[in-house]
């Protein structure tokens, strides 16, 4: 696991992809930060946290799309899968590497918080920390989904698009629940909604069930990735 993690992380930073990812993320969130917190003088960072959802929905599939597709295309998966390591540690190595790049990106929120504290002299630290935790969970869920899709296809573009569609599905599903008449189905749809669960944190509510929900999503998709790799072996 350690070897794969280190290799992936290095590959991210030797290619432009990690830098592009981080730069775009900084620019996008900084616009919100400057607008709401610096210009309007709000001490509440909830807008800056909420805006991250949209940009991550687009950016994270780009970060995860090459993780397994390239291995298959270059046949380097033959090296990984014939080495004495289990599939779970292969998947975890890659998952953690992508999560690490993602955490580099969201670390900028700490800077925003410090700047805001310096400007206003006041900050609800507990809310900010709770929000950051939620953001990590959300991003890791997106990464787990992207990783799973990349294990299913050989094309990076297809992987990116399909990951985006799946994330979009989880984003939209609770909005669509209003038109569903069946009670139990509506409950399911509402409870699967990523955005409402994430947005709850930015209102200052640290909800343990929501954290458990995201952890479950991460676990399920990483598990599916292992199964997908296993299935390819048996096909």
């Amino acid at each position: 696991m350690g070897a794969i993690f280190r290799r992936e992380l290095k590959a991210y930073f030797t290619s432009p992809i990690a830098y592009i990812f981080i730069t775009v993320f900084y620019l996008y969130t900084a616009t919100y930060f400057v607008n709401y917190n610096v210009y309007y003088g709000l001490t509440d960072m909830s807008y800056v946290f909420q805006c991250a959802f949209n940009i991550l929905m687009i950016l994270l599939p780009l970060l995860t799309m090459r993780l397994f597709t390239e291995e298959k295309r270059q046949k380097t998966d033959q090296c990984l899968l014939t080495a004495p390591v289990n599939l779970f540690s292969v998947v975890m190595g890659k998952f953690l590497a992508a999560t690490c790049v993602f955490i580099c990106a969201i670390a900028v929120y700490a800077v925003y918080a410090v700047v805001l504290f310096g400007l206003s002299g006041y900050l609800a630290w507990a809310t900010v920390i709770g929000n950051l935790a939620a953001l990590v969970m959300l991003g890791a869920s997106f990464i787990a989904i992207g990783l799973f899709v990349s294990a299913m296809t050989e094309s990076q573009v297809v992987a990116a698009i399909i990951s985006f569609i799946i994330i979009m599905f989880f984003f939209m599903i609770d909005m669509l629940s209003g038109i569903v008449q069946v009670e139990w189905l509506r409950t399911v749809m509402v409870s699967l909604g990523f955005y409402s669960r994430y947005a709850e944190f930015s209102t200052g509510l640290f909800s343990v069930p929501n954290i458990i929900f995201f952890v479950s999503i991460i676990f399920i998709f990483n598990f599916l990735t292992v199964r997908a790799l296993e299935k390819r072996r048996w096909a």
Partner: protein
């Protein structure tokens, strides 16, 4: 030691590998021979645990590759058909990565130096793999397989893309490795197998067509004896005379080599040595033998014969399929020729560099 029992791989209705059974003993170099698409790579992928078998067993040093893949894989170094290289890494980073991946216990620096020295890649150690020539990439792939000193090496066409000098070096290296390791290597280059391997398994259409030592294979299959005699004399008369010798099955004259000199191909019965009789009769007529040699079957002939025989069998079973079979066999021959042409091209290219 590798034990394979009824190993089968099925893709839909097609059996890519059809119940292979064989054993490779410690310190043996086994050659896998077969036309493209015969199932060599599929078999190797199953032995290394990259893909699973549909049925059957593969034991690596007594450990089943499907039951306990991690312990089985610890014993194997694998060089696939396309070396699994991360093009954006340097050779150094890549080999260190493989070292970590295999959880090697041998002291790192000395071991990597040893391996690089063995396959002669020390001079490109710091370079990015993408920029290496095909020969170097192949050797980095080989180095990757050697890391950790696994007791079993499985090499899928290890000399593809190398220049003649490198090919000889790699062959010598494999022979050397064969003293301590169990080696399986596949190839469709026959002299290579002949030069390196103790034993050959010829695979055709997923089945074992022959399994024997290289010498035995050459001996056993050469049931028909052929002589080629270059004789200066009147063509029709010579033919008639040779036919008169007891033990001769057939004789045919080749094109005219010099004025009045022809090559005669003589097929004789088994155990019939007609060389002395031939000399006497020809001398009695005052013709002159300019050359006489027995045409022994090379592994190449055996290979073609075995793969062709199979198509003859098929012809018996279903007459319609025959034409396709021979056509594909011809293609195989062509592709082999193309390959040899290609290596020549690459050689000149490398020489230019």
């Amino acid at each position: 030691m590798i034990e394979v029992q009824n190993l089968t791989k099925q893709y839909g209705a097609k059996k890519a590998v059809d119940s292979l059974t064989f054993t490779v003993n410690d310190g043996e170099i086994l050659g896998f021979l077969g036309p493209n698409g015969a199932g060599k790579s599929t078999t190797m992928n199953m032995l290394t645990g990259y893909i699973s078998s549909t049925s059957g067993k593969a034991l690596i040093n007594g450990v089943d590759i499907l039951d306990d893949p991690i312990n089985a894989k610890k014993n194997i170094g694998y060089l696939p058909e396309i070396p699994p290289l991360y093009l954006d890494m340097t050779v150094k980073d890549y080999l260190n990565f493989v070292y970590d991946l295999k959880k090697c216990k041998i002291p790192r620096k000395a071991h990597l130096e040893d391996v690089c020295g063995l396959v002669k890649i020390t001079d490109v150690y710091e370079r990015i793999i993408r920029n290496l020539s095909k020969g170097y990439k192949q050797r980095v792939g080989l180095a990757q397989a050697l890391i950790g000193n696994p007791p079993i090496l499985i090499l899928d066409e290890p000399t593809v893309g190398l220049d003649p000098k490198q090919i000889i070096e790699i062959r010598t290296l494999i022979k050397k490795l064969g003293k301590k390791h169990t080696v399986i290597l596949s190839s469709h280059i026959l002299p290579e197998i002949q030069a390196v391997c103790d034993r050959v398994i010829i695979i055709n259409k997923g089945k074992i067509a022959a399994d024997d030592t290289t010498e035995n294979l050459t001996k056993n299959i050469t049931t028909d004896h052929r002589l080629i005699a270059r004789i200066d004399g009147a063509r029709e008369e010579v033919l008639k005379t040779i036919k008169g010798i007891s033990g001769v099955i057939s004789v045919s004259a080749d094109m005219e080599r010099e004025k009045g000199v022809y090559d005669y191909e003589i097929e004789t019965k088994e155990d019939a040595d007609i060389r002395r009789e031939l000399f006497k009769r020809v001398a009695a007529r005052n013709w002159i033998i300019l050359g006489l040699k027995s045409s022994e079957m090379t592994l190449e002939d055996i290979f073609l014969k075995i793969t062709m025989d199979d198509s003859f069998e098929l012809k018996m079973k279903k007459s319609s399929g025959y034409k396709e079979e021979t056509a594909s066999a011809d293609e195989e021959k062509f592709s082999a020729e193309e390959n040899s042409g290609k290596t020549a091209d690459e050689n000149s290219k490398e020489a230019e560099e």
